[in-house]
């Protein structure tokens, strides 16, 4: 279902959607772009490059209460699951890298043991993607990891900016539904529109990006160089801050802790929070043994997980090339540089 939306009607579409959903879009606040709720009357424009925080927060929040527990003395504990029950949400301006990351997150959370918290949030959110006519960041490398500036995977709608208007393509049932809500605002896309979209997409693909030549060789290099002292050198500047992982659209590590609010009767919540393989104590056993007790081992884990293990388990790259980890690393650790080092080391 392909349609055309005149640029000045974008706000109206958001307004129509607000009747039945919370609407989010990239907003420039506190010196950075992030997905924020769009207030009535607010202008909606897309000049955001990419957001700092990825779209994963909509399906995997920093803090998720799994269930409440309460136990009167001498009785069995009462457990009350707290599945998310919020209404629908529509998120505009999601880049294809974040959409593709959603496909990776779906594999983690819905395959094998199905996570009902993730599923509840995934079901209620609609991702309206925006193709990248030019790379949003100097650190983009989606093409190297099997993505593209106009990929639709994981998105419900894909918008492409054309001259004075947006090309809007609904990709899923949810996407069709939110377009249908504002049917009157759209015009049908014609042959000229489709042709312009193709040109724009082709031009987008031809923009230079950071590049990793051959991902299979990277995987080979990672396997062969697991014990290499290179890792300590590559990680020498790393401060274990966790920015790379928390800002990554496909990183999903978490912790589970009990937060007690009362002891008699016992009451509290079992809470899931984001966690981070770059934190020193992430893999620490209760005995004090830590299988990954150096920054080199932890950096190796992150790179291997993204570019090797996930591929071995699921046949797709977990990294979608958004470049946030590179742009926001306080000390310049660069996954593209590391991947290229490992690719070179594959031959050895």
């Amino acid at each position: 279902m392909e349609m055309i939306l005149k640029k000045d009607r974008l706000g109206e579409w958001a307004a129509k959607l607000r009747g039945s959903a919370e609407v989010f879009a990239p907003v420039f606040a506190d010196d950075s772009w992030n997905f924020c709720k769009v207030e009535p009357g607010a202008e909606l424009t897309f000049d955001h490059g990419n957001t700092v925080r990825p779209a994963k927060g909509f399906v995997f929040p920093q803090r998720e209460v799994l269930y409440r527990f309460r136990q009167e003395s001498g009785e069995a504990p009462q457990l009350t699951p707290t599945l998310p029950a919020d209404g629908p949400a529509v998120v505009f301006g999601v880049r294809p890298c974040d959409g593709r990351a959603m496909v990776r997150n779906d594999k983690v959370f819905t395959c094998g043991f199905a996570d009902p918290y993730y599923q509840a949030r995934r079901d209620r959110v609609v991702f309206v993607g925006l193709a990248c006519n030019a790379p949003p960041s100097p650190n983009c490398f989606c093409l190297s990891v099997g993505g593209s500036p106009h990929a639709g995977d994981g998105l419900d709608v894909l918008m492409t900016e054309l001259d004075g208007r947006y090309h809007v393509k609904a990709l899923t049932a949810k996407g069709k539904e939110i377009a249908g809500i504002a049917e009157a605002l759209f015009d049908k896309a014609g042959a000229a529109d489709s042709s312009e979209v193709e040109k724009v997409h082709a031009a987008a693909r031809s923009h230079p990006q950071r590049s990793i030549a051959a991902m299979e060789k990277v995987a080979e290099g990672l396997k062969r160089n697991f014990d290499s002292p290179q890792w300590d050198t590559l990680a020498q500047a790393c401060i274990g801050c966790g920015a790379c992982t928390y800002l990554c659209p496909s990183c999903h590590c978490f912790d589970i802790n009990d937060e007690v609010s009362s002891h008699s009767p016992l009451a509290g919540e079992r809470v899931r929070t984001w966690d981070n393989c770059q934190f020193p104590e992430f893999t620490m056993h209760t005995s004090g043994h830590n299988p990954r007790n150096t920054t080199g081992a932890r950096l190796r884990q992150r790179i291997c997980h993204k570019l090797l293990y996930f591929v071995e388990n699921h046949n797709i790259q977990q990294c979608t090339g958004c470049g946030r980890c590179i742009s926001h690393c306080p000390v310049g650790i660069d996954i593209v540089r590391v991947a290229n080092v490992m690719e070179e080391a594959a031959g050895q």
Partner: protein
């Protein structure tokens, strides 16, 4: 004028003579507009050292990190580390010396003066470019900073993108150093000290409360602010229930009785507690390198918390941190004339 060739030459000499085991400096990176930390061990690699307005990192942090690394590794190389230090970085090193975290002979300080310049602030740069990434930033020699980005370049007045701490800096060079590069310029042309924090401090308690609540709500507890701070060198952090030092002899009782002062999850109350406790633990120790604020992924203006306490330390106790390795620490010393009207 700081001549980078002089720094490179000195670094090379220190390595060639074997006086130091490594030189910590800055070099061009691939990741962003900023320079990245360089750990130079080969004399020829000193050619890559740079010094400009993008050299924002406080390399004193690596004196701490390398010391911790040495404890776990077998290396017996006890030669000192040489480190390039700006004024704020040098004050941080001085605090580490003052607190005996490192000894004077463990570090060779290559002091550099920011003269009348300073360091760019990536958040202000982002503001000037409305979120676009900068690929280059340099003084244009005419009171401005030339900023390059993928679609072109622009020049902005230096005051718009220089870090607030640089605009307010009163001593843009380290007082303690082994080698010094540049001119020791005390008169700087920007704003008075504490300009930024005064603007907030003058607001009403309700406004301030709302200001901070709004910022702390965004905190994702990544602990980047703590990780980048050279003064946060505690192996166990009181506000982090996961940073618990455990070894094979730690008893089950110790682990079982360990108190979780602050919950792991990012909720407004826990976030506020984390930041305020950390700020108080830095009172009299923070030398305003601004790194905490730079590395925050959600742009919380953390520096304001620390400069607030720094202002109080100065006003109440005439204390400024990092000036002299022999000075006592603020929290663990007192003078007879200190205010004590709260003692009844």
């Amino acid at each position: 004028m700081v001549a980078i060739e002089d720094i490179r030459a000195r670094a090379k000499e220190l390595l060639e003579s074997g006086k130091v085991r490594s030189v910590l400096g800055y070099r061009r990176g691939t990741a962003s507009v900023l320079a990245e930390p360089a750990f130079v061990t080969a004399p020829e690699d000193t050619a890559a050292l740079v010094l400009d307005a993008t050299c924002v990192e406080n390399l004193a942090l690596y004196l701490v990190n390398e010391k911790k690394r040495q404890k776990t590794q077998r290396s017996q190389d006890t030669r000192p580390l040489a480190v390039v230090a700006k004024g704020c970085d040098g004050r941080a090193i001085t605090v580490l010396l003052q607190e005996n975290y490192i000894k004077r002979d463990e570090v060779v300080i290559l002091g550099v003066s920011c003269e009348n310049g300073g360091m760019i602030d990536t958040h202000k740069l982002s503001r000037a470019l409305r979120g676009k990434a900068a690929t280059g930033a340099a003084f244009d020699g005419n009171g401005g900073i030339k900023v390059a980005f993928t679609a072109g370049e622009t020049t902005v007045p230096a005051a718009e993108v220089l870090a607030a701490r640089c605009l307010e800096c009163t001593k843009a060079y380290p007082l303690v150093s082994d080698y010094f590069f540049g001119d020791k310029i005390d008169e700087r042309s920007y704003s008075p000290r504490f300009t930024a924090v005064s603007a907030i401090a003058e607001k009403s308690p309700e406004e301030r409360s709302a200001f901070w609540a709004g910022h702390f709500e965004r905190c994702i507890r990544c602990y980047a602010c703590r990780a980048v701070c050279p003064m946060c060198y505690c192996d166990e952090c009181v506000v982090d229930s996961t940073s618990f030092i455990v070894n094979p002899t730690t008893s089950a009782d110790e682990k079982a009785c360990r108190i979780r002062w602050i919950q792991r999850s990012a909720s407004p109350s826990e976030n506020a507690m984390y930041h305020m406790v950390r700020a108080i633990h830095l009172a009299g120790r923070c030398t305003d390198c601004g790194e905490c604020e730079r590395v925050c992924p959600v742009n919380i203006p953390l520096r304001l918390l620390n400069t607030m306490l720094e202002r109080e330390a100065l006003e109440m106790f005439e204390y400024a941190p990092g000036l002299d390795p022999e000075q006592p620490s603020l929290i663990s010393s007192f003078r007879d004339g200190d205010p004590n009207d709260f003692i009844r």
